[in-house]
Each structure stands twice: as C-alpha cells, then as structure tokens.
C-alpha cells in the first residue's frame, strides 16, 4: 500500500506539470468530479465543515482498520480541494493520518492561490480529517 507521503509526492509531481493557474484550476475541477461522494444519509448538519464559504460535508468510516472518507461540496473548486485531500488520506490507518504532515498543500501551489478566507476552509477540512483520525484511533486502542 502506498503511504501518505508517497501519495503526496504523486500529487506534487502531477501539479508540477502545469505552468499556469488555469491548468491547475481545470485539473482541480476534474479531480472534483472523481470525488467519492458522501451518501445522502450522511449529508447532515453535523458533517458540515465550518469555516468554508461553500458547504462541505465530510464523513469517515472505519473499514479493516483503515479510515475511508467520502465528501461533497456545493462548489466545484472546493470539491476539487477535498478530492485531493481524500486521495491522500483515505484508506489509511488513523495513526498514519494523525502523523502525516500537510506541507504538500504549499507545494502544489494551492495555498498561495487561496485567499485567507478560503485557506481557512482548507485548514478546517484538514482539521476535520485529523479529528476523525483521533476519534477512530481512540476506538482502536
């Protein structure tokens, strides 16, 4: 199985192919289309991430000691961002998610292109993913 670090490296290399913001955004929009969608029953108020201008829902379940994330958003670019996060963090043990750093966001030129209000949304998404990892790690112990 690929580690989180390996997946992050993959994403960084993928994004390094683009030389302007339009290609980067178009790629993000494409990634959003491949997002593993949250089921309707989990699209609840509780699963909405606060701090984003658009609505973002994230849900996690434990399958064979690995966390599986699904999500959705009403904005396409946000969907792309959460798709990148899920691609990196889904199907990984909670412990590995907890230990992972998130510098790759800077390296794919996302953070510099996101204004503080939007970047806060990104920070909230990462925080929520880590919170799920904490909760399930406690369950596993």
């Amino acid at each position: 199985m690929e580690t989180i670090a390996e997946r992050q490296q993959e994403v960084i290399e993928e994004f390094s192919l683009f030389d302007d913001w339009m290609q980067r955004y178009e790629h993000m929009i494409d990634l959003g289309k491949s997002l593993p969608l949250i089921s309707e029953e989990h699209k609840t108020e509780d699963n909405i991430i606060k701090g984003c201008q658009s609505k973002v829902w994230v849900y996690a379940s434990l399958e064979a000691d690995q966390l599986v994330f699904t999500a959705d958003s009403d904005a396409i670019i946000t969907k792309g961002i959460i798709a990148i996060l899920i691609r990196v963090f889904s199907n990984q043990p909670p412990k590995a998610i907890l230990d992972a750093d998130t510098d790759f966001i800077d390296k794919i030129g996302l953070k510099e292109h996101l204004s503080p209000t939007r970047a806060n949304g990104l920070v909230s998404m990462i925080k929520q993913i880590k919170m799920y990892a904490v909760a399930y790690q406690t369950q596993l112990n």
């Binding site: 201008q53 609505k55 009403d74 204004s115």
Partner: protein, 404 residues
C-alpha cells in the same frame, strides 16, 4: 470637470498588479480605496503631530487637538448636523450601533417594540437582538419584496405607540437598494419612535443632510468613504445623546473622579473614553474633503452610468440573475450564474486580478429570502471604469466556460 484618469492617479493601489494582472477593484462596498490626499494626512500626523489630544499643554498636543477637533467640524458640516458635539467619533458603524443599543438598555420600558428591516447587515441586527435579550423588548421586521425593496405597507402596520426605535439602513449593502428613509423617519416620529439610520453604504454615494432628514441617530464608517479603517461616526440629536448613558468608562469621558462617585463630562467626550484613533479621525475629515472636492453630484451621475452599463452587459450573459432591482439603487450589483456556486466564480476572477465579494455579505436573512447560499457582488466606485467592467465580463465568460 470629472476626469476619471486624473482621479485614478490619486489612488496608488489602483496601479498595482494582482496575480500578474492589473488590479480591478470591485469590492468597494466592503471597503473603499484610499487617495494620496488621505494617506498623506495620516503620514503627516505621525511625522509632525503625533501626541495625545485634549490634555497636553505642549505645542504638539495643541496642534493635534486642533486637527482632531477640526475634523469633527468638517464632519459636522459635511452631514449638516446642528452642533459639532453631536458628532461622536467611534471605531466605526458597528461600534456606533452597539453604543446606542447598549445605552437603550436602561431606557427601555416594558412592552417596548423595536422595528428593523429585512435588508439589514448583521451589525444592524445582532446588537438589537442583544438589547431585546437584555430587556425583553420585541423585534418586528419590515419584510422585503422580490425587487429588494422594503414593504412599506407592512412597515406602517407595524408602527404603534409601543414602537420605541426604528433602525434601517440608508442603503442595503448586499443589494444596493436606497431605502425611503425620509418616509420612515416621518412615520416613525408620528408615533413617537426614534430612528437610527445606518449610513455605512450610503455615504460613499450620497451626502445626507441630517438636519433636513430630522433623523435621531445616523451612523457611518470612514473606510467606505475613502478614509481609513477603524474610525466612524455616531451622530445623535443633542437631547437624545444627553439622555443616553456612557458606553465605556475611562479617561477623557469624566468630569471628576473619586472612589465614591464619578461624574461624566459633556458631549461629545462622554462617549469617547480613552485615547481615540487620532490620525484616523483627522484622516476621516480629509476623506470627506476629498469626496467634496470631486463633488457628490458628479460622483452620483458617473456611478449611475457605470451601474447602467454593468447591468446591461451583465444581463447579456446566459443564466445570469441579478438580485435587487430596486428603482433607486447605488452602484452595487449582486448576481449569480445558474448552476455555479458564487465561490467558484469569485476564485476564478481573483486569479484574473478581479476583486469581487462572494458569500452572504453579512446579510444572511436576505440570502434566505432568495433561497441562495450567497451572491457575487460587484460594487463600483467613481474611480472604476467601463473598461474594467468589460474585463469583468471577459473574466466571467472564462469562469463560466471552466465551471459549466
């Protein structure tokens, strides 16, 4: 003679690049840009005058006090208040409203009602809700129509001898609607109610005549009128301000202090505890001077031209819907494109150096009324141009192609 290129040269920020493109600033309703004439006043204050006001016997303090009180006089004249001491310098509109709402806590009687409009910014909703929680007063709401105007028939039906205060914005921040405040003030006064008008969005476009309006309280912020952030105004009629208890305690606002009993000083200092934003206050005056040097008549006609042009060309875009089509509105356009989240469009426009606001604009009740998560808001100023509007259209077309 109104010369937009000459005016633009007063604003250094307008020549900067954003994301490799010339900045197009269409977020003027959030904050306006600052001309050299105002920046220089702030710089000059720190280079030449910096000292504390109202208490020093030394030269700097005297000069700074003169400049600060001179600004208060400029503000008084600009808004045509009866007295300079009716102009309280605050941190801005939000603080001005909180000051009044806080003061009414001890002035409310059982059964008093407050009337608010559905078009308000959160800053003109929440302080009053807090007042209701403290006093048990009831909040009544003037509903809005599909055009984004107030339903004045309902307003009349809400008025009664229980009505204590009516607070409405002069211009809606989310939609640009100019509200019929003259009528609101007259009708509220007829039942013995007092009226507070939130002028934050009006003052960049309109020069209100406070004596003529006969309004009880009028509040605004300098940073929407080419002035600095962190300073604003509360105008109140002298007799009302005298009845209103102080908001914050501290230096400057006292007459005598002993541990047994403190007595307060008179207007305006009773409401200005502590060292104020001195450079901000002086620059507020300079900003009004700047606006008047261009002239509100010239500003209004040029901005109306921009609004007409932008409305026409925006409507040509497929699937674009404008929210707020009041017959009288300022140069603000709130819109959405069918099937696209406003956030997505805002993000793409930002990449092209175009600054618009997206979201609920701190006016969630309006968004709930239209059943939308938010809008894209382009708000224009007298330093914007039709060429910039053309670039917005070009940017929107590009964003729509990417997102649809």
């Amino acid at each position: 003679m109104f010369d937009v290129n000459k005016i633009r040269s007063d604003f250094p920020i307008l020549s900067r690049q954003v994301n490799g493109q010339p900045l197009i600033y269409f977020d003027n309703a959030a904050t306006s840009q600052t001309p050299n004439q105002v920046i220089d006043v702030i710089t000059d204050y720190y280079k030449r005058l910096n000292s504390n006001i109202h208490r020093g016997v030394h030269k700097l303090s005297q000069e700074a006090t003169e400049a600060y009180e001179g600004a208060r006089k400029t503000i008084k004249e600009h808004f045509n208040a009866a007295h300079a001491h009716e102009i309280i310098l605050t941190a801005g509109t939000t603080e001005s409203i909180n000051l009044v709402a806080s003061g009414y806590t001890s002035l409310m009687k059982t059964g008093d009602e407050l009337i608010i409009s559905a078009l308000e910014h959160h800053s003109n909703i929440v302080p009053w809700q807090m007042l209701c929680e403290r006093t048990g007063a009831q909040l009544r709401v003037i509903p809005m129509t599909q055009l984004g105007t107030l339903d004045m028939d309902v307003f009349e039906s809400l008025l009664s001898d229980k009505t204590r205060l009516v607070f409405v914005n002069h211009v809606s921040n989310a939609l640009g609607t100019v509200n019929p405040i003259e009528e609101i003030i007259t009708k509220a006064h007829a039942v013995g109610a007092e009226v507070l008008i939130d002028g934050a969005q009006a003052c960049p476009h309109i020069k209100p005549d406070l004596l003529d309006l006969d309004v009880d309280y009028y509040v605004t912020s300098a940073h929407k009128i080419c002035g600095p952030t962190g300073v604003g105004m509360l105008y109140g009629k002298e007799n009302l301000l005298n009845k209103l208890p102080p908001y914050q305690g501290g230096g400057e606002m006292i007459a005598t202090v002993t541990f047994e009993k403190t007595t307060y000083t008179g207007l305006p200092h009773k409401f200005e505890a502590g060292t104020p934003n001195i450079s901000g206050g002086i620059a507020f005056g300079a900003a009004l001077d700047y606006m008047n040097s261009i002239g509100y008549g010239a500003i209004a006609s040029y901005e109306a031209e921009l609004l007409d042009y932008a409305t026409t060309v925006l409507k040509e875009l497929p699937g674009l819907k404008i929210y707020g089509e009041a017959p009288e509105k300022t140069a603000v356009i709130s819109f959405n494109v069918k099937g696209i989240h406003p956030y997505d469009i805002g993000s793409i426009l930002d990449q092209m150096g175009i600054a618009v606001r997206t979201g609920h604009h701190c006016a969630q009740p309006i968004m709930d009324y239209f059943e939308i998560p938010g809008t894209i808001r382009a708000s224009f100023s007298f330093y914007n141009t039709k060429e910039e509007i053309d670039r917005l259209i070009e940017g929107l077309r590009k964003a729509m192609a990417m997102l649809q």
